[in-house]
């Protein structure tokens, strides 16, 4: 099919889709007039029943916890998939290109500061996710980003433990598998899968929410490691030629 034919088909199709959307929108409740009930019932139930002040995380890790389990595995499957897809790519580039890196002490100092700040923010997001905004996923991405920064500003040796599959793969299993194990533990005790079994604690404190913090940490580990593996896979042995010094070498 030539591009012209494609465009000729695409135009009317998008027009049709657009009219369908317009028709659907005409039937939606006006913006701000939404009347539930699902979410609003949960807004009233989650805090008293689960003692998590962040209802979104209560929904994510408890009421609809199985969705989040699926979500962790989507990320996991993606990491495994990318590892499979890029294995040839990396094999053919075993020879590590030597590039000059940022040697200036100030740049490195700022970099290290940013790494530290990023890690702290990531950990904070993970730790308080179910009390205030944040959570395992957000914290995980930020922490992984900070560690990758270490790779960009530091030297390879600093970063090596964070991209060794021998370290990361088992950790990933701890994160994703841990989530399933918490679910199974409830099942073994005779309750439903992923039932919240632990003490609920006081709302607004870190020790609240029963198994929600456990699942939150499991997913934080899973996400951090998954992101690290992804970045490592994409950056692996090939040093990104973004540094200006590299251009003329």
């Amino acid at each position: 099919m030539s591009r012209r034919v494609r465009l000729l088909l695409l135009g009317p199709a998008l027009l049709g889709l657009g009219s369908l959307f317009a028709w659907a929108i005409a039937g939606l409740p006006a913006f701000g007039d939404y009347r539930g009930p699902y979410g609003f019932v949960l807004n009233r139930l989650v805090v008293p029943l689960r003692h998590t002040t962040n209802v979104v995380m209560g929904v994510n890790f408890d009421v609809r916890g199985i969705d989040t389990m699926g979500e962790e595995f989507i990320l996991y499957a993606s990491v495994v998939g990318v590892t499979l897809l890029l294995r040839d790519e990396t094999r053919s580039r075993q020879v590590e290109r030597r590039t000059r890196r940022f040697r200036s002490d100030t740049v490195r100092l700022v970099g290290v500061g940013m790494v530290g700040a990023g890690l702290l923010i990531g950990l904070w997001l993970m730790a308080f996710g179910y009390v205030s905004p944040g959570g395992g996923f957000q914290g995980g991405v930020v922490a992984a980003g900070a560690i990758v920064l270490l790779y960009l500003v530091g030297n390879h040796r600093d970063y090596r433990p964070f991209r060794s599959e021998r370290v990361l793969d088992p950790l990933e299993a701890v994160g994703t598998g841990g989530y399933v194990v918490v679910g199974l533990a409830a099942l073994v005790s005779g309750a439903a899968f992923l039932t919240n079994l632990f003490g609920l604690g006081t709302p607004g404190l870190l020790r609240s929410g029963g198994s929600i913090p456990v699942l939150n940490w499991a997913s934080a580990i899973a996400v951090t490691v998954a992101m690290l593996l992804l970045f490592a896979e994409f950056l692996e042995t090939y040093v990104v030629p973004l540094e200006p010094e590299d251009a003329d070498s």
Partner: protein, 91 residues
Amino acid sequence: MLLATLVPLQAVAFALVALGAPVVVLTRDPLRQALVNGIYGVSLVCLFVVLEAPDPALSMLAVSGIGYPLVILAAVARVRGHERSKDEEKR
């Protein structure tokens, strides 16, 4: 009235997002697109904030600030790297 119930701030955020999407799509050079996509991501973050959704906003911020750029830039760099090494071979 179309805008009657929208708080002005929300209207601005929606407008930014609506403008941002075509710009991202129309930027055909991947490297520049990665940058534009980052800006689009930030406009989404603003939108989420004014829609009282701090959790998705943080998530979007993490993803569009760290997640997407790292994989996209790495991919762009590798593609260009290949092309460059191929050129070198030709020479």
